[in-house]
């Protein structure tokens, strides 16, 4: 079995009496795009700072690229590209000078990739940072991160401030990085973003692991949503048949909405087709559904 490039077991991080991360497990295999999901304050950024060696774990085992970031922070970060959630840059430097600074400190750079990414993100690097919008500051660190010759990208809420067009560029960059064999750990609370690019996800809340696994597997376990419009005179009988299949039905006349486990979908659709129902839609479980389901479970 391939050694995980990020391997965290039982991570606990306390700040005084406050526990930001509480027994978290996180494994990211080489070459995968791994979504790291959770609401604000869930402990995502704290975990990432531990991975970078900026914070020291209170307890737990942390390995990144096979090394302990608390002991070998420089060796770890030399192999990592990092995009922070809140980007602050030096206001008196230009965008190009910031790129030069990051590349100079790293000691390695891919100039061609940097130029290509600068064009892709439509970034004017001659401008002083103090004139940049939040989105443009974000673009500078995204260009620096994707252009750096590293094997692991750790991206903490990387698209905040980007417009929809640039979000598409960002997603393409993630796909290109994965195609090139690089590993991506993408922290986000924007579910659609992770849904579009991630192979696997880890969901955390209040510093604890909620669920981790492949997106396809999670979807398989979750219910699809089916909606339809029933003819008024037969609606009651059709709803009774639908309930007999084991599906949860919301509404008993006119429009109905059902949460249907994946293996029951054909039977439910068969009942609706027999009943000549109108406007039938079937939507597979979204990551958002998974997310909300887990939050509801955790909140009980």
């Amino acid at each position: 079995m391939t050694e995980p490039i990020v391997d965290v077991a039982g991570l606990v991080k306390n700040f005084g009496s406050f526990t930001a991360v509480d027994g978290l497990d996180l494994r990211v295999a080489p070459g995968e795009v791994h979504g790291f999901l959770g609401p604000n304050g869930a402990g995502k950024s704290t975990t990432i700072r531990v991975l970078l060696g900026l914070y020291r774990a209170t307890t737990g085992r942390v390995r990144v690229c096979g090394r302990d970031p608390a002991r070998d922070a420089a060796a770890v970060t030399a192999r990592i590209s990092y995009v922070p959630g809140e980007v602050t840059l030096w206001p008196n430097l230009t965008g190009q000078e910031v790129l030069d600074a990051f590349a100079g400190l790293r000691g390695r750079r891919d100039t061609a990739a940097e130029r290509r990414l600068t064009d892709a993100f439509a970034l004017d690097t001659r401008r002083l940072v103090r004139t940049y919008s939040k989105g443009n500051r974000q673009k500078v660190v995204l260009v620096a991160a994707f252009a750096a010759p590293t094997g692991l990208l750790i991206l903490d809420e990387p698209t905040s401030g980007l417009d929809p067009l640039m979000e598409e560029v960002f997603q393409q960059c993630v796909r290109d990085a994965a195609a090139a064999g690089r590993t991506v750990l993408l922290s986000s609370h924007i579910l659609a973003e992770a849904e579009d690019v991630c192979d696997t996800v880890t969901i955390i809340k209040d510093g604890r692991l909620v669920e981790s696994g492949s997106l396809a597997g999670m979807r398989h376990l979750a219910a699809s949503t089916i909606t339809a419009r029933l003819a008024g005179d037969r609606a009651g009988a059709v709803v009774a048949r639908l309930r007999q299949t084991g599906a949860a039905v919301d509404g008993d006349t006119g429009a109905v909405r059902l949460a249907v486990p994946r293996d029951l979908v054909p039977a439910v659709l068969g009942v609706l087709a027999d009943a000549n129902a109108d406007d039938i839609t079937c939507t597979p479980a979204s990551l958002e559904d998974l997310f909300l389901r887990h939050y509801e479970v955790a909140a009980r």
Partner: protein, 525 residues
């Protein structure tokens, strides 16, 4: 809460500390009564000051007969009005363009506030500060003057009014400039440049006996109104009118510019590249503008101070200087004493630069800049060590330039042996003190950042023992614990340097310990 109160609350530290500093400075009048034990000694000092070109350049002309009140208005008045003007530039920019640049004013503007209200609120704060300064300075003199010769109620009131109006004219002028330039930083720079021009006009007027010119400079208001001499109230009216006109012009220009921009567009692009490979290289690049400003300012003030000592040195040779200045000149060669005193002052100022530079590292951590540097494969201790190394090197640059400039100009004004070499050595000799204080600040900021503010303590203690140690009767062994009193006279036969070596070693060890400490704790933010 009104916008005016909100702005005042936001900048309350600045609005409280600056007036307190100026009012404290105004409490020194009794020293002029006590420094000279006999009228004859004071008369000699007055005549010496009146014929000293450097003193006239810095303070203006000292009027006859040179009562303690007149000497106070001449010397302390110069310091107070210059500091009031510096305060005016900083406060005026803080409550106007700085609030625009950091985005806070944008939020207020989005709450139904009229476009003109922010500037009206800022001007209200500045006018209030002017009144507070005037009243505070007058009250300080009234309370502390005792029976000092030459002190009158009218003179006290005019002195206070001069201080307040100097502040108000410079402040409104800066507000006007802030409508023209692109950023708060540019407004500060232009404000200080204008202040330098005002000082030059005042100095030229006094040295060339062109009294009319003083009416054109806010720093010349003191010479025009002559507190404790002529007490000319009417001379204050044009300054008050000028402040009104400047404020009105600022309101007009403010209405003609876009929010967050000046009337003059800035150059926002350049095609330069950054060729650095180390954290120290990056830090040196980021701080070079600040270092340049500190170097120019310290070198100019340090060299000017060196040129002003001839009167004091001559009087000391005649045994006629006591009090604070007498303590600074010491019992040995008065020229060496004066240059050592000048070197100590320069060392204190450069140490302020160093501590500020080191403590700025906390800001870099809080904003995430340090984290981004560390994420490029840089070792955990490197940013802290680089900041300390660049600061120590920057201190060496400032001291070297100041020392060389002092060595060039001091022999023209001071009589004695080895003036140039002594001027250079007494200034450069403060570098170990700067290294030691940089090290202590790095130790705190690196290992225990929440206690970093304590970095000011050894500077404060060293400054007090160096400047006031003899006057306060502090024992010699205690004074030796301060960092500034260990520079030997290079022209003396005995030149002990062990203490300087100890300071350097202590500084280096502290820097190493602080850097290791920074690597072993969580990064802030």
């Amino acid at each position: 809460m009104t916008l005016t109160r909100l702005l005042a609350r936001r900048h309350r530290l600045m609005l409280i500390c600056w007036p307190l500093l100026l009012v404290a400075l105004c409490c020194t009048l009794p020293a002029y009564q006590n420094t000279y034990t006999t009228p004859g000694q004071r008369r000699i000092a007055v005549e010496s000051a009146q014929h000293n070109a450097a003193s006239t350049l810095l303070y203006g002309r000292l009027p006859d007969p040179g009562t303690p009140a007149q000497m106070y208005a001449w010397e302390i008045g110069a310091f107070v009005t210059i500091l009031a003007a510096v305060m005016a530039v900083l406060v005026a920019v803080a409550v106007t363009r700085a609030a625009e640049d950091d985005g806070s004013l944008e939020l207020f503007r989005g709450c139904g506030i009229s476009p003109a209200q922010p500037l009206r609120s800022a001007l209200t704060i500045l006018a209030t500060m002017s009144v507070v300064l005037a009243a505070g300075c007058a009250a300080a003199i009234t309370v502390t003057a005792g029976g000092a010769e030459g002190v009158t109620g009218a003179g006290t009131a005019v002195f206070g009014a001069v201080t307040g109006l100097t502040f108000l004219v410079v402040a409104t002028g800066t507000v006007l400039l802030a409508q023209i330039v692109a950023t708060a930083g540019h407004a500060r720079l232009l404000g200080f440049t204008a202040l330098g021009g005002a000082f030059a006009v005042r100095a030229f007027a006094d040295t060339e006996h062109l009294d009319g010119l003083n009416r054109l400079s806010p720093l010349g208001l003191r010479a025009v109104a002559e507190p404790f001499t002529a007490d000319r109230w009417t001379a204050l009216a044009p300054a008050a009118l000028a402040a009104l006109l400047l404020a009105a012009a600022a309101m007009i220009l403010s209405a003609r510019r876009e929010f967050g921009t000046g009337l003059v567009r800035r150059r926002d692009t350049r095609a330069t590249r950054l060729r650095i490979r180390t954290t120290a290289g990056l830090h040196a690049r980021l701080t070079r503008s600040s270092l340049l400003v500190w170097t120019v300012a310290v070198a100019a003030i340090g060299a000017l101070f060196a040129t002003m000592g001839s009167g004091a040195v001559e009087q000391r040779r005649d045994g006629e200087v006591g009090g604070f200045l007498g303590a600074q000149l010491g019992a040995g060669d008065p020229t060496a004493g004066y240059l050592a005193y000048q070197g100590t002052l320069v060392g204190i100022v450069v140490s302020v630069f160093a501590i500020l530079a080191v403590l700025d590292g906390r800001h870099a951590e809080d904003t995430g800049l340090t984290a981004q540097i560390l994420a490029t494969g840089v070792r955990r201790w490197a940013p802290t060590a680089a900041r300390a190394a660049v600061t120590v090197a920057g201190g060496a640059v400032i001291l070297t330039v100041t020392g060389v400039l002092t060595a060039l100009v001091a022999p023209e004004f001071l009589a004695g042996d080895d003036i140039a070499v002594r001027g250079l050595a007494f200034t450069l000799g403060q570098w170990p003190a700067v290294v030691a204080l940089t090290g202590f600040a790095t130790l705190l900021a690196g290992a225990v950042p929440r206690f970093a503010v304590l970095a000011w303590l050894p500077l404060l203690a060293g400054g007090v023992t160096a400047l006031l140690g003899d006057l306060l009767g502090i024992p010699g062994r205690v004074q030796d614990l301060g960092v500034f009193l260990h520079v030997p006279d290079v022209a003396a036969p005995d030149r002990p340097v062990a203490a300087l070596l100890v300071l350097v070693v202590a500084g280096v060890v502290s820097i190493v310990a602080g850097s290791i400490g920074a690597g072993r704790r969580d990064v802030r933010a």
